[in-house]
């Protein structure tokens, strides 16, 4: 245990020496990592905010059941009974033909300043049904809509099905896009860090050979370079997230009011804490993998002599 700690301490010292000997290369690598993590972080921020927008929109979705003009009292009672017995329904509101027409005329007058007068009322009566919040709220709405659509006395149902389905598809695309971008950037980062570590190895080639000559274990030789790769990943991700944090707070203070007016109740979000940790962890892991590849390849070449 003591010898492991000792080896690690020596490894840390050698890592610092490596960084000092190649400050410029280390800095370039850290900035490249920061840019890559920044790109990924930006996509994540967009994704989180779209998700937030979708969630706030989801809360506002309600089911409207339009009734036929000739609906009978017993058919209406049947419908109301169905609403009452569905545990997921929060509230129902009956909108008569007259009220619907009145509301429509009022909203038209507000928008265009014109008073509508057709001489007849073309709008049907309806029920506005609100659902309780739950994980599968949209699914429940869609299932219930299908059920009542077939009932006698119901003309049609409306809950923005097409929009919801389009938005859901868009979010799936966003997820796939994020994963593909993440994978591509990770691959690029592995190549960049691995090259930086290779440079670091070549700059200390004499020292490495000497270490092996005087009885160092392969692990002892590899540790400083593995630590250097991890350090690059850590510094790059922290630099990137730090900068993104600053930009985020600036944008939030400047534009939060505008965002709220566009999407009511929506808060401009940063990357969530678990994802921040995942980004930093992934970056450190990428650094480790990249430096492992370089040191492994170099040691293979040495061993083949």
């Amino acid at each position: 245990m003591n010898s492991a700690i000792h080896a690690l301490l020596i490894g840390f010292r050698a890592t610092i020496a490596n960084v000092r000997a190649n400050v410029q290369t280390f800095f370039i690598s850290v900035v490249t990592i920061a840019i890559s993590i920044g790109i990924l972080g930006l996509f994540l921020i967009i994704f989180f905010n779209l998700n937030g927008f979708f969630a706030s929109w989801n809360q506002q979705v309600q089911l409207i059941a339009y009734l036929k003009d000739d609906i009978s009292l017993s058919q209406k009672n049947n419908l109301e009974e169905l609403f009452k017995t569905n545990a997921r329904v929060q509230s129902t509101e009956e909108v008569s033909k007259d009220r619907a027409w009145q509301e429509f005329r009022l909203s038209q007058a507000e928008r265009s300043g014109l008073e509508l007068d057709l001489g007849f009322n073309p709008l049907p009566a309806s029920y506005r049904i609100r659902f309780k919040m739950s994980d599968n709220r949209l699914l429940h709405i869609s299932e219930f809509a299908e059920k009542i659509q077939k009932l006698p006395g119901v003309e049609s149902v409306e809950y923005g099905k097409n929009w919801i389905s389009r938005f859901e598809k868009f979010m799936v695309f966003c997820r796939v896009f994020l994963m593909a971008t993440g994978a591509l950037l990770s691959f690029g980062l592995i190549l960049i860090i691995s090259n930086t570590i290779r440079l670091s190895i070549y700059s200390r080639q004499d020292e490495i050979e000497l270490m092996l000559l005087i009885g160092a274990t392969p692990h002892f030789v590899k540790i400083p370079f593995l630590l250097e790769g991890m350090l690059q990943g850590l510094c790059g991700s922290l630099l990137s997230l730090g900068l993104m944090g600053v930009i985020y707070y600036y944008l939030k203070s400047e534009f939060q009011a505008s965002i709220e007016s566009i999407a009511r109740g929506m808060d401009f979000q940063f990357i969530s804490e678990p994802f921040l940790l995942i980004l930093v962890g992934a970056s450190v892991l990428i650094g480790l993998v990249a430096s492992y590849i370089s040191t492994y390849q170099y040691m293979q070449v040495l061993n083949k002599r």
Partner: protein, 218 residues
């Protein structure tokens, strides 16, 4: 202590660098390995500390079968050998003290022991006043003495020296030879490769002569 049985080592498709070499060096012996350039002196040393592999034969060092070692356990052999080179192989960005201490750091010794042993090794080669100097600030003889201090600091039972006086004048060479003889008196087995006939005459030790990868006399 050191035994080679019918060792053959080839570089590419040319003549073998070591051609069916068999020899034995006893514990505590001081042996000169000599021969013209290309005779195989350096190759034998490299084979002994596992830096070069070989095609045929067997090599035993301290009871370790060198041919059976791999990258992961090679350090067990190398920790029992101190190696000295003609070009010293000192780290120019480290001080004299750090160069000698470095050989112990890789073996995971604690700092206190490292400090004590390094000081002792530098005292033995007469370099304590230069402990904070960097190798380029030293003369050839002084650099070679640092290399000797580094090789002996872990008290290995075997010391292999590849032309350690090759870059030095006669007077300094003699000083270096005396240092090796001192190490030998303290129990180390020394294999000293040189083509310098004056050194061979000065040291009254067994001489193994190689030519074109073969042992000519032993």
């Amino acid at each position: 202590m050191i035994q080679l049985f019918n060792v053959i080592k080839k570089y590419g498709s040319g003549n073998p660098a070591l051609d069916d070499i068999s020899l034995k060096i006893e514990r505590g012996e001081f042996v000169f390995l000599t021969g013209p350039s290309g005779a195989g002196k350096t190759t034998i040393l490299k084979v002994l500390f596992g830096w070069e592999d070989f095609e045929e034969g067997q090599v035993l060092v301290q009871g370790i079968n060198v041919g059976k070692l791999n990258a992961d356990n090679m350090h067990t052999l190398r920790r029992s050998i101190g190696v000295i080179f003609q070009d010293y192989k000192l780290l120019t960005n480290k001080t004299v003290f750090e160069n000698v201490a470095f050989a112990q750091e890789v073996t995971n010794r604690d700092r206190k022991t490292i400090k004590f042993k390094t000081w002792e090794a530098l005292k033995n080669v007469g370099l304590t006043p230069k402990k904070d100097s960097f190798p380029p600030q030293l003369s050839g003889g002084e650099q070679q003495r640092v290399a000797i201090a580094r090789a002996m600091v872990n008290a290995p039972p075997i010391i292999l020296a590849d032309e350690p006086t090759g870059n030095l004048d006669q007077e300094i060479s003699l000083e270096i030879l005396k240092l090796f003889e001192e190490l030998n008196r303290n129990g180390a087995t020394i294999v000293f490769a040189t083509h310098n006939q004056d050194i061979l005459k000065l040291g009254n030790h067994r001489v193994i002569t190689l030519n074109r990868g073969k042992v000519v006399s032993s």
